[in-house]
């Protein structure tokens, strides 16, 4: 479905220090630097796959999505989406894709979302009967109800994002690029959006590429992740495998019948947190069985669970490692 080979996107950026002197100087001479937003990444995505793009701010995730959706012309490499060259922006290609950006909107600001839906129906040339059915489905799944009749400017962020998603799906795209779709939403709205996106993928077999800083989004939606850092691909594979690779440890969460001295916990593993009757220990995966057995025999354990470390921590560690490696290389 999607094939990317040696994709590069470089920007020429004007640099100017602050101050009046620099401002005047910039009238005569403007130094530029070349920023390598994406520097030779390659990957393939199969039809119907859900893939998460991960990386710190400025890593090149959004730039990659913009190249894939035809907004940006690549500086080098080859990109193909369902047999189309995105930069040509052919109608057949644009009718197959949609890019939803959490920080950009296509809804007409002063008109109700229903007007944008109708506009998209006309632009995407969706037959009226199909449009009616799709809109009914979207209205029901996203709980739009009367929202579509209120001017967009009067909608809350969560309401607006639901309408944005509906507007993006009127033409039933085969490939959906989602750039921070849950940004700024409250926890329950994030969960609702995730459920909807997953259902859309399963029902329509749409290919889905997601960038998000909310690891819950990635964990819930993307069995496969592609990690990009400083424009370079640093991991492509299963999310579970990435977690095991970066943090080959498990968290054991205990609840005790009475207070346990910290020294007793430290004998079992690394103490991540502890309070009066609960504690979290970090132990190597292969030592989980023995640690649990020892804890059950020596401590007043009421309850315990074994978990993966939080994804946020895993990512933070991955990015700090890659920063350290880059600094060492320079």
């Amino acid at each position: 479905m999607i094939s990317v080979r040696g994709l590069k996107k470089y920007y020429r950026v004007h640099q100017r220090p602050p101050g009046l002197k620099a401002a005047l100087g910039a009238l005569f001479h403007r130094p530029h630097v070349t920023v390598k937003a994406v520097d030779g990444i390659s990957f393939d995505i199969r039809p119907g796959e859900r893939v998460g793009f991960l990386g710190p701010n400025g890593a090149g995730k959004t730039t990659t999505l913009k190249v894939l959706s035809g907004l940006l012309h690549p500086s080098g490499g080859e990109v193909s989406v369902d047999g189309h060259l995105p930069r040509r922006r052919e109608d057949a290609f644009l009718k197959k894709i949609m890019l939803v950006m959490g920080q950009k909107q296509q809804l007409l600001w002063d008109l109700p979302p229903a007007e944008t839906f109708e506009l998209n129906r006309a632009i995407y040339d969706v037959p009226r009967e199909q449009y009616r059915r799709t809109l009914e489905e979207l209205t029901s799944l996203l709980g739009l109800g009367e929202l579509v009749q209120k001017p967009t400017r009067q909608l809350s962020l969560g309401e607006r994002m639901r309408c944005e998603l509906a507007a993006a799906l009127i033409h039933k795209p085969k490939v959906l690029f989602l750039d921070e779709p849950t940004i700024g939403l409250d926890v329950s709205m994030q969960a609702a959006m995730r459920d909807f996106i997953k259902r859309y993928n399963e029902q329509h077999g749409a290919t889905l590429i997601l960038t998000s800083h909310y690891m819950d989004d990635v964990a819930a939606l993307c069995p496969r992740v592609i990690v990009i850092d400083k424009g370079v691909l640093s991991y492509d594979g299963a999310l579970d495998e990435l977690v095991r690779h970066v943090r080959p440890e498990k968290r054991v969460v205990f609840r005790f019948a009475r207070e346990v001295p910290q020294i007793a916990l430290a004998e079992l593993g690394k103490v991540v947190s502890v309070d009066s009757v609960s504690a979290v220990l970090q132990v190597r995966t292969e030592a989980v069985n023995s640690t649990v057995t020892r804890a059950l025999s020596t401590l007043p354990v009421l309850d315990l669970t074994v978990e993966n470390p939080p994804l946020e921590e895993v990512m933070s560690e991955l990015f700090s490692r890659s920063r350290a490696a880059a600094e060492a290389a320079s």
């Binding site: 913009k66 907004l71 109608d91 949609m98 950009k104 296509q106 008109l111 007007e115 506009l119």
Partner: protein, 272 residues
Amino acid sequence: MSLKGTVRAMPTLLRVGFSEAVAYRAEMLIWVLSTTMPFVMLALWSSVAHEQPVLAESGRRFGEAEFTAYFLTTFVVRQLASSWAAWEMNYEVRTGALSMRLLRPLHPLVAYGAENIAALPMRIAVCLPVVALSLWAVGTSAVPRGGLRWLAFLAALLGAWLITFLANVCIGCLSLFMQSSVKVMEVWLAAYFVFSGYLIPIELFPGWLRQAVDFLPWRYQIGLPVELLSSMQEPAGALPLLGVQWAYVLGLGLLAQLLWRKGLSRFAAYGG
């Protein structure tokens, strides 16, 4: 989008565009007020012609009635041949909002054009009282007769709108190269005010300037349609001018295509 598809989508584009134009009532009213310069010029020139008519080099005499007909027609033509695509494009390029247009299978330039045309009913509504005032002031005898004149006027009016829109698009496209081209638009507007016949009927220009103005695009944005409707030009005599006008339409159309294609490869899709 194919031509057929665009034509099919056009009624919806225009209807939604009209809804947007109506949504911005206060802004629209302020914009209309900002285009009342012809009324100011009408007052100025009428007072000049009050004592005796102003004599053009061509021998035409401009009395109060001629100035009234000319400047009220100028107001109407300005309303009907307007575009603001350059400002929209500048804003959308700088903020990255152009991205959302580029994702749709409809050429963004068609979308800008449809939005501008969609505001016409509102503008026509603004023009109606002015037309009524014109008829009251100069009498119904001043209404041009003859299908050929009206045909020539409509061709000139369409040409005027296309030149205005395409010039806006060309200047808007420059923002893809130079971050902001609003100042270029201001320079264009300065020349437009002077050379279009908006402030002074072109016939009152000195002969050498009048001849030069015939080769500049601004004259075709206002002067030509106004002169045809106010019977200062005969349809047959205006044919060479119509030819130049439509040559500008063609030239600006080609230039807009070129600038759009070249500029788009530089689009940085800021934001998001």
